[in-house]
C-alpha cells in the first residue's frame, strides 16, 4: 500500500490522536493561542446578537483567530470528505450494531447515519431531538463548563489543569448516561 492509498483509508487512532495533539503546540507557536473551539460560539453571539448581555460585552474582535480556526475546520472537513476519502461502509463494533438495528438504523455508508442527519428530518421529532435539543445542550453545556473537549480535555489536560479533569469526567458521565439510557429511550418513542 502506498502512502497515498494509506491516507485515503480511515486513519489509525494513534495517528489521529498524535496529529490532534500536535494542534496544541501548533497554536501556541503560531501566536500563543490556547486550543479551544467552543469559544467561537460565544464570539458569534457577541458579534451578531449581543443584546446588551454583559457576558457578550467584550472585545470579540481580539479573539477573531478562533473564528478563522473554526472556519478552517469546515473547509478541511470538506477537503477530507471530497478528496481524501475511500468509499465503503463504516466498520462498527458488533455489539453497537445490534443496538443500531434496534434504533432502526441500517445505513452505515457515511460517518453519520443518513437516516437521522438528513434535511427531511428537520421538522420532525427526530430533527427536534437530534439537531435542536442536542445542539442546544452542546452550546449551553460547553459554555457553562468553560470549554469543550478541545479546551478542557485536550488543552487543559495537556497543561495538567485539575478543573479540566473534573470537566472531562463530567463530559464522560453525561455521555454515558445519554448514550445508554436517554438515546435508546428517544429512539423508542421516535421510531
Amino acid at each position: 500500500m502506498t502512502l497515498l492509498q494509506a491516507m485515503l483509508q480511515p486513519w489509525h487512532w494513534a495517528i489521529g490522536g498524535f496529529l490532534i495533539g500536535l494542534t496544541v503546540p501548533l497554536l501556541l507557536l503560531l501566536g500563543n493561542k490556547a486550543f479551544g473551539i467552543s469559544s467561537s460560539l460565544r464570539h458569534i453571539c457577541a458579534a451578531c446578537f449581543p443584546a446588551d448581555i454583559s457576558f457578550f460585552k467584550y472585545d470579540w474582535k481580539a479573539q477573531k483567530w478562533n473564528l478563522f480556526f473554526a472556519g478552517g475546520i469546515l473547509i478541511g472537513a470538506f477537503i477530507a470528505a471530497h478528496w481524501m476519502q475511500g468509499n465503503g461502509e463504516m466498520e462498527i463494533a458488533a455489539a453497537t450494531k445490534v443496538k443500531l438495528e434496534q434504533y432502526h438504523l441500517h445505513n452505515y455508508q457515511g460517518l453519520l447515519p443518513h437516516e437521522i442527519f438528513n434535511w427531511s428530518n428537520v421538522f420532525t421529532g427526530k430533527g427536534l431531538v437530534f439537531f435542536v435539543i442536542g445542539g442546544f445542550l452542546v452550546g449551553f453545556g460547553t459554555r457553562y463548563a468553560g470549554g469543550c473537549t478541545s479546551g478542557h480535555s485536550i488543552m487543559g489536560l495537556s497543561n495538567l489543569q485539575w478543573p479540566s479533569l473534573v470537566a472531562t469526567i463530567c463530559f464522560m458521565a453525561g455521555g454515558f448516561l445519554s448514550a445508554n439510557v436517554i438515546v435508546p429511550w428517544l429512539f423508542s418513542i421516535l421510531n
Binding site: 490532534i20 494542534t23 501556541l28 507557536l29 448581555i53 478563522f68 473547509i75 434535511w119 449551553f140 469543550c148
Partner: protein, 136 residues
C-alpha cells in the same frame, strides 16, 4: 492577513478530525457503549502528545514563531465544570459532536448539522442570558 495562519491550522485540524473519524456519530456511540477502543485511543494519544509538547515548550522556554513568549492561562475551578460538563455530555452523545466536530460534520457534507450548530449558538446565548442566576 494575520489570521490566515489560523485558517490554515483549522484546515489541518478539520482534515484530521474527519480522517480519524472522531466526528462520527457511530464512533461516539461506540465510545459511550464501551464497544470500541478507537475514541479512547485518539483522545488519550492527543492528550499525551499535547502534554509532552507543553512540557517541552515550558522546559526550554520556547517562544512563538514571531519570538513572543508563550504563556498558558490556568483554568479556574467553578461548579460550571460539573453541571455544564454533564449537560454537554448529554448533548455530545445525542448529536455525536462537540463544537469542533459540528463544524467538521457540516463541511464533510452533512449540511443539516447547520441546524445543530445554530442551536448550539442559541444554547451559548441563553447561557449568557442566565449566567448570573446559575450556580458557579
Amino acid at each position: 492577513m494575520k489570521n490566515m495562519k489560523y485558517l490554515l491550522a483549522g484546515i489541518y485540524f478539520g482534515i484530521v478530525l474527519v480522517k480519524s473519524q472522531v466526528i462520527s456519530w457511530f464512533r461516539i456511540q461506540e465510545m459511550f457503549q464501551l464497544t470500541s477502543f478507537h475514541m479512547y485511543g485518539v483522545i488519550g494519544t492527543a492528550v499525551i502528545t499535547g502534554m509532552i509538547a507543553v512540557q517541552l515548550i515550558r522546559r526550554f522556554g520556547i517562544k512563538t514563531f514571531e519570538g513572543a513568549p508563550i504563556s498558558i492561562e490556568p483554568k479556574q475551578f467553578d461548579k460550571g465544570q460539573i453541571f455544564g460538563g454533564i449537560i454537554f455530555g448529554l448533548g455530545w452523545a445525542i448529536t455525536g459532536a462537540c463544537p469542533g466536530p459540528l463544524f467538521a460534520q457540516i463541511g464533510s457534507g452533512f449540511t443539516v448539522v447547520l441546524i445543530t450548530l445554530l442551536s448550539a449558538i442559541a444554547g451559548t446565548w441563553v447561557y449568557g442570558l442566565v449566567e448570573k442566576k446559575l450556580p458557579h
